[in-house]
Amino acid sequence: MTELDKIRNFSIVAHIDHGKSTLADRLIQETGTVEDRDMKEQLLDSMDIERERGITIKANTVRIDYKAENGETYVLNLIDTPGHVDFAYEVSRSMRAVEGSLLVVDSTQGVEAQTLANVYQAIDADHEIVPVLNKIDLPASDCDRVAEQIEDVIGIDATDAIQVSAKTGQGIRETLEAIVHKLPAPSGDRDAPLKAMLVDSWYDAYLGVIVLVRIMDGTLKKGMRVKFMSNGTLHHVDRIGVFRPAMQAVDVLGPGEIGFLTASIKQVRDTRVGDTITNDRNGTELALPGYKPAQPVVFCGLFPVDSAEFEDLRDAIDKLALNDASFSYEMETSAALGFGFRCGFLGLLHLEVIRDRIEREYNIELITTAPSVVYHVYMKGKEGIEGEMIELHNPADMPDMSKVDHIEEPRIKATILVPDEYLGDVLKLCQDRRGIQEDLTYAGSRAMVVYDLPLNEVVFDFYDRLKSVTKGYASFDYQMTGYREDNLVKMSVLVNDEPVDALSMMVHRDRAEMRGRAMCEKLKDLIPRHMFKIPIQAAIGGKVIARETLSALRKDVTAKCYGGDATRKRKLLDKQKAGKKKMRQFGKVDIPQEAFISALKMDS
């Protein structure tokens, strides 16, 4: 057990690519926590996808022993948090477990939208914040300008900002000293009943669920019986320990310390993040304020390309869900795509990560339907009784419009930082997506715009479009702000007079014709010609709002086919057969898989 005044708990706040993981690596290396030969890049990112994409998805933690200049040895606990908006809930929960943050800003780039969102979370959690200017080894580094920007945009003092190159190691010792001297020690009462915060939990094939805890009061020992206060369940603590970053058993964890426990817990779902853990008898009466559980905001269908793999997909999704309580799913049947799952995600990145993991780790090829948000559909009341509200996760399930009173859609507050010269394009993009401008300010040559936007307009390809119109110079972050009524309708798509459920979507009435036309034109290009002509229509209810006709195939024959060609042409035919098998049949029309996603990408 460590004395409270020798403990410092902190997190690192940074925009993606500003060097957070590299800085963490250097801190670990400098203090000798990991032998040099065991060092690898992005040490704390354990998933392949995390390393490949250079992002952190799960919160990770490491305990570092640091012998400071004053001769004392300190225990530094770093919780490394995800930077992406999708995982904002991970950030908020981690922030509550520590007392301070390093604010890492790339001195060649400056403050970005994500930095803002995360730093405000740190301020909300009453953190002491130490600004760190990274990448000072690069010629484009401009510490004065960036320090000024931190003061202007974020409003914290940056005069003592530490200048660091995580790459060369310059400034690392200064950073460690600042952690010791500028961040507060935790407080807590060792003799009080146990009060520990459940920070995170994940599934380990050998140990069962591993629970990351921060001890607030009292002590946690191996062999204890503890109570999870949210549901009153009792558990026998099998082992406790700390991360260095590998797991290392300890006998006791005291106030201010961060570590893990295992207690033969089978499912991550049985552990609620933010829960308070105490002694089974004579425990604390007062639970810590909990966090709200993360709500999925983006839904899409996942279907196996090969329908025979449905059971494999179920198995994969079950396993992933064991470790990710924020991901929801239920079985879905589509006339087009057969059996699959309707899944809910925290955002698009979360969706991509889960999809990639299923495809890669479980080797199942997937068809992903267009992402949709959750609409609130208010049904008409009857005889003075107010109608019920239905949460609509899938446009295909939209009830009959005549029974619907009104529909609300989720809105977000989007913050975009962009160099001056691209501002016009960004404003146009937001305007095109039904945005309402809320704020426009300048920090040097960069503009910061705040828009109120429908989430629906953002989930699909907003970020791609933003990157493309700003050549990658814009940064973007958002937070959900609530629901608002609008004139929304369900647009269905008919191919050869058959509705294709997987292509139906909710749109704003004013944009329906445009979206319908764009969709029909896209499908006309995406669907191969058949031996007959195929009408492609977009409709609202029974009313057709756009129509294209895919003309019939007139010429597809091998001109020369003699004895020597038989084998070769047969193999070619086999290949075409395989290609046809991969398409989905709608009545008599074959629709290629990519059509389901590509048709929904907007070019405007």
């Binding site: 058949h530 031996m531 007959f532 195939l553 007139r554 010429k555 597809d556 024959v557 091998t558 001109a559 020369k560 086919c561 003699y562 004895g563 020597g564 038989a566 084998t567 042409k569 047969r570 035919l573 086999d574 075409q576 057969k577 046809k580 098998k581 008599k588």
Partner: protein, 384 residues
Amino acid sequence: MDDWRNGGFGLYVHWPFCQAKCPYCDFNSHVTARIDQTKWAEAYRRELLRAAPQLSGRVLNTIFFGGGTPSLMHPDTVATVIDAAREIWPFSNDIEISLEANPTSVEAGRFVGYRDAGVNRISMGVQALNDEDLRRLGRMHSVSEARAAFDVARNCFDRVSFDLIYARQGQTIETWKAELNDALSMAIDHLSLYQLTIEAGTAFGDRYERGTLRDLPSDDNAADMYLATQEICEAHGLPAYEVSNHARPGAESRHNLIYWRYGDYLGVGPGAHGRLTLGGDRYATETYLQPGAWMEAVISGSGEAQRTLLSKDDASAEFLMMGMRLVEGLDMGRYRNISGKDLPADRIAHLVDLGMVETRDDRLIATDDGRAVLNAILRELLVE
């Protein structure tokens, strides 16, 4: 009765050499300065003798000299092959012996020699009746040279066919119609009319990839040209009997009919393919592709590089793929025998509804419109 007897038995002889490689051609052809004709004649003879024992008791219906450019063969070489075949198999009374020829004066000079060797049908690669287009197609002859060679051919042989390629760069439906009428005024009893196909790995294929093969007709224009071709040839008494082949009734290429009726054929020479029914099973055979490698293999025993037993699915797919090319269609009873199951009735009904196929007397027949989209029909019929 073995199924192959419905199609007959033929011999294909591949001559792999050309004077130059044409930019659209993906056939097994090679350009070489000196060819030892005696050595090649002997090699073909050895190959026939090697194959003979397993094909005894058959009557030979056709021989076809293809290439490459078989009109570069010395008439003695051709005679050696024909004589060797005659010693092994009895010839049917009306045996057809065809040879592909380039329409140049040099080659026309060998026509009498070919006739004396036993060749009774010539197929000439005229390709276009327009000098500019011949140059673009990489041909070494001019239109007037082709016409002169054709006259020599018709004086030597009763049966003369020639090939044209259409849907060429810059061609319109009107210029093609005019050219086709011109060709029909020359034609005797047979015409092969191929739409230009851009094959990967050819000079045209490379240019197509780079986007420098300009002014090709659109798919719709090519479809119009195809349908016009069917009508015009029919009106001139040379109706289509296969996707790209037209003949006066009775003057069809019987050798090629063996392929399309899924008979048996022995392939000799570099890169020649065969289909042989042995002990009731159909095999696909293939010889060594490179002339040098083939020659060495023949000298050390056999030019055959591969022999593959065809599964019921593969054999029935081939039968369908080849048979549907014919205007006479295919015998669904034979399909049943080869594949062990029926063609899917619901798919056929759908194709009949679309006007793509007809059924008559247990035969499945593609309509004119259907033959133009035959690959789509085959995909429909073959996908489980």
